[in-house]
Symmetry: C2
């Protein structure tokens, strides 16, 4: 591999436009900002420090909230014997085409193939059938933070479609259907808050159609996102499996009344796929735009000096950094070998939320020049004021970015009542909200005609189905669905 010199960093500026060439822009932003890199494993990326730091922030936000709700973390093997995967029919059909199979160990051929974990139902539920015997053992609410491999054969896209991604997978077992159902809103609330407070992205909460539900679930629920390129992306999801898996894996228990029953189960996940939505939503032609709550550095200090005042400015900048330490994640870019302009570009490329410029004049006047990445605003701020209010400033940016994401998505959802209108909306880069009768045939016809699939049936819109007619067949509508082309 040819190495270029260290000073070719200028070549890293983004050369594709988000508006004109979204796909090329998206990849350039991720790679040139050092957020991730490709690897020689096709479809698998390396999470560099900034992206893994961000993922740790998501995990550290979600994990204690799950624990507070009674969930316990566990770790199961990453390799799953083929016969276990085959126990639940829909599940095996959904996942087998994408499984990476271990067939040899050392120099020996295995008697049975082992799947590299595409999801852990099969391996976990065999254990649950041993661990759960009585109502006393319930509920059992387990969770794993791990990676999964799904060897998709479509064109891979970093985060949005990778062959390995990071996620949490929650797996709950309850004695009753009521408890199973009650968990859904609690978990989806945690995920919804996490989207807002970590990645600053909005999603529409609703139920999936039967055609689009998880392989092995009775009912699936999701947050659905909408991307600037006019396509939908499924966000965090929650699946009610009822007794499908518990019957397939014999996860039975003795009830208080001494009768035998099967447990009711849920699963749920949030994954690094979300980073694709975050980057696409907030970033621009200058590079990444990171939400403050998950940015590796929230504030970068760029000192501006000449040969005469170098020492004075640098020590003033170092003093200033000390004032911020503990209040924000702050870095002082005091590298002599780069110019201030070069540094501005560098930190804009990386999406650092706030840049503070400090020169001789700023030092003398106790005033800072503050640049805000997400809206490119520049202002003069009195130093004491900046330090005292840094947390508010960062939180303000976080919330404003979230509002931008929300306004964008809501502005792209348009109602329609005919299939022609639906087609035009989807073609025009919108999400089409339409009444639907509930028939899988209509759903399939809509997809065949327009390329749009049912993302989900938004909770908040369902009351409007009454009296409406299905956008395809004209019969009475049972649901309101958001249709979109998707990643």
């Amino acid at each position: 591999m040819e190495k270029s010199s260290a000073d070719d960093k200028a070549n890293r500026s983004i050369t594709a436009s988000k508006h004109a060439n979204f796909s090329e822009w998206y990849v350039q932003v991720l790679i040139k900002s050092d957020f991730i890199d490709y690897t020689s494993v096709s479809g698998c990326i390396a999470f560099r420090p900034d992206s893994y730091f961000a993922w740790e922030r998501v995990r550290d936000y979600v994990d204690p909230r799950l624990k507070e709700d009674g969930v316990e973390n566990v770790y199961f093997p990453s390799l799953i014997p083929e016969h276990l995967l085959q126990k639940e029919k829909d599940h095996v059909e959904g996942f087998t085409p994408e499984v990476a199979w271990v067939t040899q160990t050392g120099n020996s051929k295995l008697d049975e193939r082992l799947a590299v974990r595409p999801t852990s139902e099969a391996i976990m539920y065999e254990s649950l059938s041993k661990w759960i015997r009585s109502w006393r053992d319930l509920p059992m609410r387990l969770n794993q933070w791990n990676s999964v491999v799904r060897w998709e054969f479509k064109h891979p896209t970093p985060f949005l479609r990778t062959r390995e991604f990071l996620w949490n997978e929650g797996h709950s077992a309850f004695a009753t259907k009521e408890e199973e159902e009650a968990e859904m809103m609690r978990i989806m609330n945690i995920y919804g808050q996490a989207l807002k407070d970590t990645m600053a992205i909005f999603g529409v909460l609703g139920r999936k159609t039967q055609s689009e539900k998880f392989a092995g679930a009775v009912d699936s629920f999701s947050f659905e996102h909408f991307m600037p390129d006019g396509k939908g992306v499924q966000g965090p999801a929650f699946h009610m499996d009822e007794q499908l898996f518990s019957k397939a894996f014999d996860i039975s228990f003795t009830r208080k009344d001494e009768k035998k029953d099967y447990v009711y189960q849920n699963t749920y996940a949030i994954s690094t796929r979300e980073f694709g939505v975050m980057v696409a939503t907030h970033s621009d032609d200058k590079g990444l735009v990171m939400p403050p709550n998950i940015a590796r550095f929230q504030v970068v200090i760029v000192p501006i000096y000449n040969d005469k005042n170098r020492q004075e400015v640098l020590s003033y900048a170092a003093e200033f950094k000390k004032m911020l330490d503990g209040k924000a994640r702050v870095i002082l870019d005091d590298r002599d070998e780069y110019s201030p302009g070069w540094k501005f570009n560098e930190w804009e490329l990386k999406g650092t939320p706030v840049r503070v410029e400090i020169g001789g004049r700023e030092a003398a006047e106790n005033v800072l020049t503050v640049y805000t990445r997400y809206n490119s605003s520049k202002e003069k701020v009195e130093i004491r004021d900046f330090v005292d209010k840094i947390k508010d400033r960062l939180e303000g940016i976080q919330q404003a970015m979230y509002q931008n994401s929300k306004s964008f998505m809501l502005s792209r959802i348009k109602r329609c009542t005919s299939i022609e209108e639906l087609g035009r909306l989807v073609e025009g880069g919108f999400m089409a909200q339409a009444p639907w009768c509930g028939s899988a045939d209509c759903e399939k016809s809509i997809k065949d005609k327009t390329g749009a699939k049912a993302t989900n049936m938004p909770f908040e819109a369902q009351s409007e189905a009454e009296g409406k007619k299905c956008v395809y067949c004209g019969k009475d509508a049972a649901h309101i669905v958001n249709f979109a082309r998707s990643h």
Copy 2:
């Protein structure tokens, strides 16, 4: 699989003796306490909530200390193309016999086999060769918390020899050998503290012999443990690779003086193998004994009541729990369906550090009966005193357990000067400390004759080599080595 009733938990008491049948006892302690379970993947275990909780505590202890030292976390693919593994000769020879190979994805055969990550040098260093170009990019100190698969064909033992385990893998690249060397003591200090403050186990720090170093390293360093069954176990390790990998993977950079050079590299790891040492060291014939700092629950409250005073005792116990919340991880075992005696056994089996018994008399007198798991002591403590000093009490237990581990190991290290004596010591369940000339032939002969291998060369003993003769050949000694049979 036959299911037994929920009330057969009494059958869970340990039926093997640590002293008489260590191997059987060890497995019973782990399984019956619900710490882990076997899975249908041979050699792979399920980390149940208590063990994974403990591992999170280890990670949460080590991780911020590494970050404080300048290390950044990343995530690389879990699948590694075969051609990358082959780049470094010793490395490939060391790992290939134990690799789990992915050869098929979906229904397709892969052109090149992919190794399920046995360690990440190969996949990471290909990226480093792109990312590192200049002295400005150095040092680059990366770390991953992940799982690795090594398909060992020896008899698997939970934690001590499993085909998948959890660890951190640190990978550092420096511009100079001096920086590379300076990292060793800093990292090993962090690991040493972690052993003490999390798992309460002692290890002897030293350098590995050339025969026992890591596959691909120039020099390895380790903590070495000694188990109650008279065998050694390698603990956290640190490897100096110097320029071996950087030359194999072309990780070169332009120095300040404009010359090209290769980076100097280190790797280091702490793994769930340590849990095997912890359990073997501290546990007893009643079950697990957990160090307070990583126990899921540090205090269990067992209320003792009859039909008459049930409500009074339970509400007193609940009040007491509230006083402890926030100061310790505490659980009130208020299950009506089990007797106090049954509960005592249950929590002793699980190794909960402190048990508090509260009955009508305790409630009346404001005095608690406190049982300490690790030394089976029982005492009466005034309630206010117990609550005020709970942190000290737990820390006292942690330190006492560590001292026990240290005293045990030090008492089992015996010096010797002849090969016959060395053989007798090893046979008698000791670690034999002996002078050694440094020749690999002598090392091999000692192993052939006694079954003992060189664990490491303890730093603190090296000054004593001067004037001594090699325990095998009688030539001048260059090192002092701790020899032991090992797991």
